[in-house]
């Protein structure tokens, strides 16, 4: 199938009325969650996971993806109006977005963030189509050792890049991989860490784990913090009109941000938060008067917002073509697909075209919906920020319970949610990343399977990781990353 045929086919999938409704539901809910500070896309996707069991896999993927990129749009709203990032990806938007709001230009800042988000997403879709086609052809040459080496690189990159305490991140990844071992071993049938509980034979329930780590833990941590925020000023459609000079400043930062975001989004382990920070740094560097940054420079909003949206689209490249999630949110998506019996990999473009092309077209439709809904409805989203958290969180908890219960009606899973919730709250307090734990949980079993297969094929010779050119490249990159992060820690301590 050529790209044009694929897109035509994708329109047939994405324009079905029910799929369209789930797409709309996903982006609306994503924007809502993104607007609310303290609750991220991870919590929203975990909350929606149980609902997806009742719908077709392509509708499920389209809805969950809509939550993700919808949250990128919504995240900017709280960043600009309250200097509270609605999502980590939009943290950098506070740097220039909030000063703009203080100067009475909140509406323009919101316009800039939406326009550049849209540019980033649409160009990101093109990059996704090109890269996915190319990578799924290249991936037929991938062997077990190559997969294992690539996933290890992804885990190391996710825990070291942009982290000031890489060892804490890596410990969380390892803990997640250990939790991923629980259940029946696929190769030998041996039971591992099941403690004679039949509920654990299939492993720890992904929905219960994600709900506890993100839904429950985020609620506990925000009961007090979220209450202290000041009410934002009202913003309407009319305040969003930019001047000619504002408009002139959007395209080039947005294009540079898109390039950065597309690249880092597709790399495993880096993702949209990093690319938004890099884009901000780049805009400062190329600016003729960098002293304007931090005081309401439009470029400081346009670049990062385009970058994080482009990255959230291209993050689907490794997930869909190799079956390897590059960041924790993609790990959750992959988990959802596996529950639906869809195993993403190099064959997916051929074998399940409705999933891939339906998703690609739904990206375009969803982003268009976001643009035409959010511009006129911005007043409603801003007023969402006035809802006190105390009215929201008890309802969130009830939805968490009903969601977990609906999976298989198990009270054991309810206990898992409670225990994991406390653990997640403690982890957040002590600054251990629960997102990396989830990434390890999903990738761990995949790494184990491929590692065992690779060792069997190579007759126990670990040199296979250096002899195969693809695996060798990933192994060298992994070693370089580890050395780099050791050097950074050493320099901080002795510098």
């Amino acid at each position: 199938m050529t790209a044009w045929e694929g897109i035509a086919y994708g329109f047939g999938v994405a324009l079905q009325p029910d799929v369209l409704i789930y797409c709309l539901l996903g982006v609306t809910l994503g924007t809502f969650i993104g607007v609310l500070p303290g609750i991220g896309a991870m919590a929203a996707i975990s909350l929606l996971l149980p609902i997806t069991f009742y719908i077709s896999p392509e509708a499920a993927l389209i809805m969950l993806a809509g939550v993700y990129y919808g949250a990128q749009y919504g995240g900017a709203v709280a960043s600009i109006l309250l200097r509270l990032p609605g999502t980590p990806q939009s943290a950098v938007t506070t740097l220039d977005g909030y000063p703009m709001a203080q100067q009475g230009r909140a509406g323009v800042a919101l316009f800039v963030s939406m326009a550049s988000s849209f540019i980033g997403s649409i160009l990101g879709i093109i990059v996704l189509v090109v890269l996915a086609g190319w990578l799924s052809r290249a991936a037929t040459a991938f062997g077990a050792a190559d997969y294992a080496a690539m996933m290890i690189l992804g885990l190391v990159a996710a825990s070291t890049i942009g982290s000031d305490r890489p060892v804490k991140g890596f410990a969380m990844v390892v803990l997640g991989m250990i939790l991923g071992c629980v259940g029946t071993d696929v190769n030998s049938g041996a039971q591992r860490f099941t403690f004679a509980r039949t509920e654990l034979l299939d492993g720890i329930n992904l929905v219960a784990l994600a709900m506890g780590l993100f839904g429950v833990a985020e609620v506990i941590g925000n009961i007090r913090n979220a209450e202290r925020q000041a009410a934002p000023e009202r913003v309407g459609f009319r305040q969003m009109m930019p001047t000619r000079d504002d408009l002139r400043r959007i395209p080039f930062p947005a294009l540079r941000g898109t390039a950065l975001g597309s690249f880092f989004g597709a790399l495993p382990g880096t993702g949209s938060t990093l690319s938004s920070f890099l884009s901000y740094a780049m805009e400062r560097r190329v600016a003729r008067r960098p002293e304007r940054f931090g005081k309401g420079a439009i470029e400081g909003v346009a670049g990062p917002e385009a970058a994080n949206n482009a990255a959230s689209i291209t993050a689907f490249v490794p997930t869909l073509t190799l079956g390897i999630p590059g960041d924790p949110i993609m790990a959750l998506m992959l988990g959802a697909l596996v529950i639906h019996g869809v195993q993403p990999g190099p064959m997916m473009l051929e074998a399940r075209p409705e999933m891939f092309w339906g998703l690609v077209v739904s990206f375009g439709i969803g982003n268009l919906l976001l643009l035409i809904l959010n511009m006129p409805l911005i007043g409603i989203w801003v007023s969402m920020l006035r809802i006190p958290f105390r009215y929201l969180y008890p309802a969130i908890l009830i939805f968490v319970c009903l969601g977990v219960y609906s999976v298989r009606g198990s009270s054991f899973d309810m206990g898992v949610v409670a225990v994991v919730g406390i653990a997640g709250y403690l982890m957040a307090l002590a600054r251990f990343s629960p997102a990396l734990l989830l990434l390890g949980f999903v990738l761990g079993p995949l790494i184990e399977t491929n590692l065992r297969r690779a060792m069997l094929i190579s007759r126990g010779d670990p040199m296979v990781f250096l002899e195969r050119p693809i695996a060798c490249g990933f192994t060298i990159a992994t070693c370089l990353l580890i050395l780099l992060s050791i050097w950074q820690v050493w320099r901080r301590r002795h510098g």
């Binding site: 009742y54 305490r165 060892v167 804490k168 890596f170 410990a171 390892v174 803990l175 991989m177 250990i178 071992c181 071993d185 190769n187 030998s188 041996a190 591992r192 860490f193 429950v216 609620v219 506990i220 009961i223 007090r224 209450e227 006190p388 958290f389 105390r390 009215y391 969180y393 008890p394 309802a395 908890l397 009830i398 968490v400 319970c401 009903l402 977990v404 219960y405 609906s406 009270s411 309810m414 949610v417 409670a418 919730g421 406390i422 709250y425 403690l426 982890m427 307090l429 002590a430 600054r431 251990f432 761990g444 184990e448 590692l451 065992r452 060792m455 069997l456 007759r459 126990g460 670990p462």
Partner: protein
């Protein structure tokens, strides 16, 4: 400033978990060889890795200061209690009563006085759950308490 208790305790717990996992898997599961790895190979390796990293987090933290971390017992306790009341009580208490009680309990740590809004919120959430999940999604759950 006080000692970096978060990292000391966090690292110590991780090291203990790692040691426990490695021991448990090492004693009960077949380790295998590098060529034919048994079910114990991966867990033992990961357990040892976690033990080392936990030590690597906790030991340097002994000499370091950090902002104290406040664990909010009331917030955590109320949220967990609400989950258990609703999650485990749904079947016996019925969705209506379990949901009402859980919302009341969950709302206790909210920094806003008065009981009227708590009761109104509980009624509203219960109604919402009834409309969406019982009427809308037709989840097969008892609505009212079962006696006897």
């Amino acid at each position: 400033m006080q000692r970096d208790w978060a990292d000391i305790w966090g690292g110590a717990v991780l090291a203990l978990v790692g040691a426990g996992v490695a021991l448990h898997a090492g004693l009960r599961l077949d380790f295998g060889t590098l060529r034919a790895m048994g079910p114990g190979f991966f867990p033992v390796t990961l357990g040892v890795l976690l033990l080392l990293m936990g030590a690597g987090i906790a030991l340097p933290a002994l000499k370091r200061g950090a902002e104290p971390v406040i664990f909010r017992w009331l917030d955590a306790g109320a949220v967990i209690a609400a989950i258990l009341i609703f999650g485990l009580g749904m079947g016996r208490l019925g969705v209506a009563l379990a949901c009402f009680l859980a919302v009341i309990v969950a709302s206790v740590p909210a920094p806003h006085g008065g009981w009227l809004w708590r009761v109104l919120l509980a009624v509203a959430v219960t109604l919402l759950v009834w409309v969406v999940f019982i009427l809308g999604l037709r989840m097969g759950l008892p609505v009212w308490p079962r006696f006897g």
